[in-house]
């Protein structure tokens, strides 16, 4: 039904042609490098788009115009100009700090981010890392990022960074529970951990409709916890400007800081992308039962457009939350997680299991 835009035959054809021209190991190596470059380029381009979007959305919420000078009325070249500026900045090295860990920390953060990024299902047959435990791997890989934050905070040898890192670590470890439980809820609904199969399960209705009440609750829990995982307001106390200058990346400059910044925005995109995969049907088009003509037109839109469109919608939701709510204190953040969110997500998990067993979901 959705086979017009299936990427798998094309990719298999490219692979077999390359294997015909050269030995298999060389083909694998070249493909690996090409995929790596593709990930890097997508990463950079998406970061630029997201930063521009954040500035415009923020401006709209604060009744301002936002960037409008560089690159025409829309300020379209503002972010590329900032990128070039940050690339030319000096990378400062600190006295009395652990140089190796200081240099390593941003790479740990970006590694976790890229590993999860490559699990996103862009299209049918368009997933870079495909395994039958996909969604579990996403959770596992994203848990490395907090280590980079902790190391960055410690190795900078400054009290602001250390406080920021410990706050962020405590918060991320706590909220990983809620994320894990809400993902597990959807794994129970779909009966698989394979990301492509989770999307395929939603062929005749997105999970948020299929799982109705518990799925909706899991979606809200996921969005709250995902916001905390990405270290964004109202959970941005790790880098609360008024108290901690910039939190764990206070002492970083140039592209080292840029890596943290990139990872923050891409983690936002990844959080939204996984939310779309689990709840909003991934690359599946919107179908309304009974409207055959409408459904056929929707089928003609490629999956990748659906996926990116829905993801940007969820990104907008997260930005809306960010620019609406004030920042929480660290004890409030931890109380919210341990006393309300985690018991609630356990309850949702039980409800979903019962409904699945008794066939109360669609």
């Amino acid at each position: 039904m959705f086979d017009y835009y299936n990427l798998e035959p094309v990719l298999m054809w490219i692979h077999s042609t390359m294997c015909g021209l050269m030995p298999e190991w060389l083909a694998f190596t070249i493909e690996g490098i090409a995929v790596g470059i593709f990930i890097m380029v997508m990463y950079a381009v998406l970061a630029i788009i997201l930063i521009y979007m954040e500035r415009k959305v923020c401006a709209a919420f604060q009744c301002r115009i936002g960037p409008d000078r560089v690159g025409g009325r829309g300020g379209l070249l503002q972010v590329p100009a900032d990128v070039i500026k940050i690339l030319t900045k000096e990378i400062i090295s600190l006295k009395n700090s652990d140089k190796f860990l200081y240099a390593l920390a941003p790479f740990l953060v970006i590694m976790a981010s890229i590993l999860t990024f490559s699990c996103l299902p862009w299209n049918k047959g368009g997933e870079i890392l495909h395994m039958n435990i996909g969604i579990f791997f996403v959770l596992a890989a994203s848990s490395i990022g907090v280590l980079g934050i902790l190391l960055a905070g410690w190795s900078s040898n400054s009290k602001y960074t250390l406080i920021g890192a410990v706050r962020s670590g405590a918060m991320i470890i706590s909220y990983e529970l809620s994320i894990g439980l809400s993902v597990l809820t959807m794994v129970i609904l779909c009966g698989t951990m394979d990301i492509q199969e989770i999307v395929a399960y939603q062929e005749n209705g997105w999970n948020i409709f299929k799982g109705h009440l518990p799925a909706l609750m899991a979606f809200v829990i996921y969005l709250i916890a995902g916001n905390a995982e990405a270290n964004r307001a109202p959970f941005d106390l790790a880098e609360a400007e008024q108290e901690l200058t910039a939190g764990y990346h206070t002492e970083y400059s140039g592209m080292h800081f840029g890596f943290f910044y990139l990872a923050e925005y891409l983690n936002l995109f990844i959080t939204a992308g996984i939310a779309v995969t689990l709840f909003l049907g991934g690359w599946m088009p919107l179908h309304i039962a009974g409207l055959e003509g409408f459904n056929t037109i929707m089928d003609y839109i490629p999956g990748v457009i659906w996926f990116v469109g829905k993801t940007f919608f969820v990104v907008f939701l997260l930005m809306w939350i960010r620019w609406t709510f004030p920042r929480l204190r660290i004890d409030q953040v931890l109380i919210l997680e341990w006393k309300y969110l985690m018991p609630l997500s356990l309850l949702v998990l039980v409800i979903m299991t019962v409904m699945k067993v008794f066939g109360l979901v669609f």
Binding site: D98, M131, N132, F137, A140, S143, I144, L150, W154
Partner: protein
């Protein structure tokens, strides 16, 4: 000529060896934890090469994302001098070397008598999750519901104990 699997295996194995040596020879405790992280990531990589992606993700989640984070956290929260430069006496050094050699000889002996398990595991095939799940909570032969439940009771006891120790007295 090596196959791609073999090249990947040797690269990961080399990483594990280098970082495990670094983890015990470095003088900074936090660096040691970081090198240990790379060793555990490498172990996860070996599981992934074997096609046991579930265990690989568990390795990432439990060890890299859980235990190492706890280590780093406790190092950050406790006041440690940061360096671990100790003078080691010669007698201790010799006994350590002897123990290492005996351990190595034992491992070599077991490997030489039993051989590698290379042909038992199908290469490049992922183990399905359903199989693992059934093995974990099944009650038949080669299924492990009792150890699984005993383990969860143990963990619960650990958590209650930790809360008892850490809670405020009033």
């Amino acid at each position: 000529m090596f196959s791609l699997f073999e090249i990947a295996f040797y690269a990961v194995a080399l990483c594990i060896i280098v970082f495990s040596v670094l983890a015990v020879t470095t003088s900074s405790i936090l660096r040691s934890a970081t090198y240990l992280l790379f060793v555990l990531l490498g172990t996860g990589g070996i599981y992934a090469i074997l096609g046991y992606t579930f265990l690989s993700a568990v390795q990432l989640m439990v060890y890299a994302g859980g235990i190492i984070v706890l280590y780093v956290f406790s190092i950050l929260l406790t006041r440690s001098s940061g360096t671990m430069k100790y003078k080691i006496r010669r007698g201790k050094m010799i006994s350590v070397l002897l123990t290492t050699l005996v351990g190595m000889a034992l491992v070599m002996f077991i490997l030489a008598t039993n051989g590698f398990a290379l042909n038992i595991i199908p290469q490049g095939v992922e183990l399905p999750v359903e199989k693992i799940g059934n093995a974990l909570i099944g009650t038949e032969k080669y299924q492990f519901v009792l150890p699984f439940e005993v383990m969860s009771v143990l963990l619960l006891a650990c958590m209650i104990g930790a809360i008892m120790i850490a809670r405020k007295r009033n």
